[in-house]
């Protein structure tokens, strides 16, 4: 799987440049994150036009709030993607009708993929392997909730299971994922 290795200033440096009003830093920042932000929005919304709106808004908000980013609380990439994810969840709440196909869920844990994606799986092998180690039903619930913003009730409807089971799968999946990440990080 190709790894995307950013060159030039660090993510934090670009964000700091953007916060100080540097136009070149803002351009470099947008260039660096546009693919991931748009990719996440597209995966969640399944509609290119809606995904572009969300991605534009997410990057604009990152610019607006760049000066309050605290590197001690996490990575810039996670911060930007969280902004995009929250915006996409809000959009989905208004028009929840996106079918999440089984093959899309399967691809999230596969080792490669195409369909127009430069890197269909993302950049973090540890995360992918950790997710792959979570049992199928829990993984589906976890990905639907964590990446697609489904509530437990929506997962229960989509999967045809009781609400309590959906909630338990989400929690158990998240705990298994945490455990697998810890193990993976130790191995690395």
């Amino acid at each position: 799987m190709p790894q995307i290795v950013p060159t030039g200033p660090s993510d934090e440096a670009l964000l700091a440049g953007m916060a100080s009003g540097d136009d070149l830093a803002a351009t470099a920042f947008v260039r660096r994150f546009q693919g991931r932000v748009f990719g996440l929005a597209l995966r969640m919304l399944g509609d290119s036009a809606a995904a572009e709106d969300i991605a534009q808004e997410a990057l604009t908000r990152a610019w607006k709030h760049a000066s309050v980013f605290d590197a001690r609380k996490g990575a810039v990439s996670t911060w930007v993607l969280t902004i995009a994810r929250n915006l996409a969840i809000d959009a989905l709440r208004v028009r929840r009708s996106v079918p999440t196909r089984d093959d899309e869920l399967a691809r999230l844990t596969a080792s490669a993929g195409t369909d127009g994606a430069i890197d269909a799986v993302g950049t973090n092998e540890t995360v992918r392997l950790a997710l792959a180690s979570v049992p199928d039903d829990q993984r589906r619930a976890l990905v639907l909730a964590g990446l697609y913003g489904f509530t437990a009730a929506e997962i229960a409807d989509a999967e045809g299971i009781p609400l309590g089971t959906a909630k338990t799968r989400i929690r158990a999946g998240l705990m298994r994922f945490r455990g697998a990440l810890d193990t993976g990080e130790e191995v690395q």
Binding site: S10, E12, G74, L131, V143, T151, L181
Partner: protein
């Protein structure tokens, strides 16, 4: 999670949902109210939130439509212009208000009480030096949290710099990466330890070359 008195078991599933950002309305409010009073669930929420963030690493990288970058940058610039206009309006309004107060013959002290000065929260001040020359200043403000104000005016470079602080026990903490433009830049950042413990702050390149240092005391 076994703090049975607080009924943590009842919230286990919902803490996970809260970490994933999928809890809404009343349920969300109920869980937050519980977590705020329960250290055990607060720790669990912190752990699961960090775990949930990792899922975002699975987001695929997809080339956006042609022209996307230009449209985002135009949007940013439009927002910047609107912000600058609002700021100018605020300054103008503030100036007009100040003149009006002056005309009426009031001072701020007359309006707001006994006129006693506000407590000065500046805990320490030092010059930032590079090769023996002053290139800026450090100002530490006590409070919770303490804040460090860094002003650089003459470092003869543009681009990112790393700011680190060292406390009285010699522990160094990176506060973040900041940006200099034509040798100048300023920022305010929260301190990881009390203001009185600060002994020095350094400015360096991302590669670790020291550019300037300011020593307190």
């Amino acid at each position: 999670m076994t703090t049975g008195d607080l009924g943590c078991e009842r919230f286990e599933d919902d803490v996970a949902a809260l970490a994933l950002g999928t809890l809404t309305g009343r349920q969300r409010a109920d869980v937050i109210a519980h977590v705020e009073g329960c250290r055990s669930c607060e720790s669990l929420l912190e752990l699961l939130s960090a775990t949930s963030d990792q899922l975002l690493e699975l987001a695929p990288v997809v080339e956006p439509p042609i022209g996307f970058e230009v449209r985002v940058l135009n949007r940013i610039r439009a927002t910047e212009r609107a912000r600058a206009t609002r700021s100018r309006r605020r300054v103008a309004l503030f100036a007009a208000a100040a003149i009006a107060i002056g005309v009426l013959g009031f001072t701020a002290g007359d309006l707001f009480g006994n006129g006693s000065p506000q407590p000065n929260t500046a805990a320490a001040h030092a010059a930032l030096r590079s090769d023996g020359h002053s290139v800026g200043s450090l100002s530490v403000r006590s409070g919770n949290p303490a804040r460090l104000v860094v002003k650089i005016s003459d470092l003869r470079r543009s681009g990112p710099v790393v700011c680190r602080v060292t406390d009285e026990k010699g522990r160094s903490v990176t506060l973040g990466i900041f940006w200099l433009y034509q040798g100048s830049g300023s920022w305010t950042v929260t301190m990881p330890f009390p203001a009185k413990d600060l002994r020095s702050a350094t400015i360096s390149t991302e590669q670790g070359t020291r550019l300037a240092i300011g020593r307190i005391g």
